[in-house]
């Protein structure tokens, strides 16, 4: 591959997301309720998936408990908002901060373990959070709680559908941009080094544990951001947000799209949400729509069997340039 070719590809990696973001922004007001609702949902899940990509794809830490931070972000938003609605400028940092704090606690403990242990420990800590909200009255028990008025600051009121839309879009752009910067930074390079060979990084004098913990906390905070947005969109939270199915789904999105690329997490979130939507729509699937879990499960199995590199891998395989 020539030098010019590489740099044009790099520019492509920059231009495509920007064009997509602008297109979504311009098309926003033209979308019907159903479509804009769906797009908001996908964007929130994209943020959630991106936050996990920082762990799985960039650092090589497979966490199966990421939904805990998502759920905590959402819960804090609702619990702190009160009956007259809360201040967006306070609620957002509170949600992200709380998620980051729990991530610090979970990360500090679970990063002492490795590999499969890490997968299981993160899962177990997420269950711990799940049970706190499920079994106590803190957040309304298993029924969850409602948020009566959505967060706002001045004219920026998330009760307004379009405001919500643009806040979510801005958050997605922020998350994507931040992670793109992280990837190119010294910190990102250290994370990549840890993913490839942790032993060597330690020998080279890197404080591996500190780097991993920092990544874990940042990922937790970003998941908290996604949780904040979700609570603002739905106006309700319940413990199911933290259930391990949710952690499994977001991991699936990241892998479905293709590990190691920020685009992958977004593509995965889109593809997964679309699949779920299609499988549960009667007009498309007929009576099978009632059993969308079955079709989704089979789709996952087939997908893992046939596409170990994710959808990005599929695109590479199909394009003659990528094959070369």
């Amino acid at each position: 591959m020539t030098q010019a070719n590489t740099s044009s590809m790099r520019r492509g990696a920059f231009i495509v997301p920007v064009v997509c973001a602008i297109a979504i922004g311009v098309l926003g007001p033209l979308m019907g309720n159903y479509v804009s609702d769906f797009v908001v949902k996908v964007m929130i899940l994209s943020i959630f998936a991106l936050s996990l990509e920082l762990l799985v794809g960039m650092t090589g830490l497979v966490s199966l408990g990421h939904a805990a931070f998502y759920g905590i972000g959402a819960y804090v938003t609702v619990l702190a908002s009160g009956s007259e609605g809360g201040n967006l400028a306070l609620l957002l940092p509170a949600a992200m901060g709380a998620a980051a704090l729990y991530a610090l606690f979970v990360g500090a403990l679970s990063l002492r373990t490795r590999g499969v242990y890490f997968i299981m420990v993160t899962l177990a800590f997420a269950q711990m959070a799940f049970f706190v909200f499920h079994d106590t009255k803190v957040g309304g028990g298993s029924d969850g709680i409602y948020m009566y008025v959505r967060p706002a600051i001045g004219k920026l009121d998330m009760e307004n559908r379009m405001v919500l839309f643009y806040v979510v879009l801005a958050s997605l752009v922020f998350t994507y941009g931040l992670l793109a910067l992280v990837r190119r930074s010294r910190f990102g390079a250290a994370l990549a080094g840890i993913r490839v060979n942790e032993q060597r990084m330690r020998a080279a004098g890197f404080a591996v544990y500190g780097y991993k913990l920092a990544a874990f906390v940042l990922a937790g905070a970003l998941a908290g951001l996604a949780g904040f947005l979700l609570a603002s969109r739905d106006g309700v939270v319940n413990p199911e947000l933290m259930a391990w199915h949710n952690s499994g789904e977001v991991l699936l999105m990241v892998i479905l799209g293709g590990l190691g690329h920020l685009r992958g997490a977004v593509i995965g979130a889109i593809a997964f949400t679309l699949l779920k939507e299609i499988f549960s729509t009667h007009a498309v699937m007929g009576p099978l729509a009632d059993h969308w879990q079955l079709t989704l499960g089979i789709a996952i199995i087939v997908f893992v069997a046939l596409l170990p590199k994710g959808l990005i891998g599929l695109a590479k395989r199909l394009s003659p340039k990528g094959a070369a």
Partner: protein
């Protein structure tokens, strides 16, 4: 709490712990020896419980016969499942194992909902195990729970004997530490794995069948037991059957007494236990340092 209640809770703890051990030992076999993270293991427990629900009316009071029939069915099911799915997973990395077995859970859960619906069902205790064993006026304890504990102890001893004293167990242990060497010795590793996997499925299903008359049969039972098993494996140390036993008993006590003393927060007890163990020994109580 008077002495009688305390005694009953102790017996409950041991019984619950032993039952958990039965499920976790299957997971330990499958994970420790074949290196496959099997998220669908809880589903095998659930399948066992529903099997008890379906088979109990057919067998009536022939409860032991029903258990044998169920175990045979589960083992055949496991053997076929290994052949159809899991044999392809050994070479894949953990991430893909997690995903594929996650997909399997969705399939099992939905098939269950199609076949038997989402209602909670009870399973009758067989007549010859009905009633309670009374120790004077101090306490009385259901015969069925005593039977469940006894059955689990017998199985645990049998498992220990098979793994540590038989030729099959020798191959299993050798396979766990060095797969290629075992293959080099001319042992059919594929078949060995298939048998171990079938045994793991049968153990989980058996636990489900034994649990059914005590805990009733409900849709989410697979997921909840799976997570507890993960906690057990982390506490005990991966691949160690003794560790799984110790952890199971510990968790049994923490969970049972947690429910007595802190009804509201009982769900968290075992996770706190896990956090403490991790701070103290990240590799688990009986695990080897990675």
């Amino acid at each position: 709490m008077d002495f009688g209640t305390f005694l009953v809770q102790c017996l409950n703890s041991v019984q619950y712990g032993l039952l958990l051990f039965l499920v976790a030992s299957g997971l330990t076999l499958i994970f420790g020896i074949m290196g496959v993270i099997n998220l669908a293991h809880g589903s095998f427990y659930m399948i066992g419980a529903y099997m008890a629900f379906a088979l109990a009316p057919l067998f009536g009071d022939q409860f032991l016969l029903m258990l044998v029939a169920g175990v045979v069915l589960a083992a055949i099911f496991g053997y076929l499942l290994e052949w159809a799915f899991f044999s392809y997973l050994y070479q894949r990395d953990h991430l893909q194992q997690v995903l594929m077995t996650y997909g399997l859970i969705l399939v099992f859960e939905e098939l269950r909902s199609i076949l038997v619906g989402n209602d909670v069902h009870g399973v009758k205790v067989p007549a010859w195990l009905d009633g309670s064993f009374a120790l004077g006026s101090v306490m009385s304890y259901p015969w069925y729970r005593l039977f469940a504990s006894a059955a689990c102890i017998v199985l645990a001893v049998a498992l220990y004997w098979v793994v540590n004293r038989t030729r099959l167990g020798m191959m299993i242990r050798a396979g766990a530490s060095n797969r290629d060497m075992v293959r080099g010795l001319g042992i059919d590793v594929k078949r060995l794995y298939r048998i171990v996997f079938a045994a793991g499925v049968a153990l989980a299903a058996l636990a489900g069948m034994i649990a059914a008359p005590m805990s009733s049969v409900y849709p989410n039972m697979g997921a909840s037991v799976l997570i507890i098993c993960f906690v057990l494996v982390v506490i005990g140390g991966i691949g160690s059957i003794t560790g799984a036993l110790v952890a199971s008993l510990l968790v049994g006590f923490v969970d049972t007494f947690g429910k007595v003393f802190f009804a509201d927060l009982s769900g968290i007890g075992i996770y706190l236990l896990m956090a403490i163990v991790l701070i103290w020994k990240p590799e688990g109580l009986m695990g080897r340092r990675p």
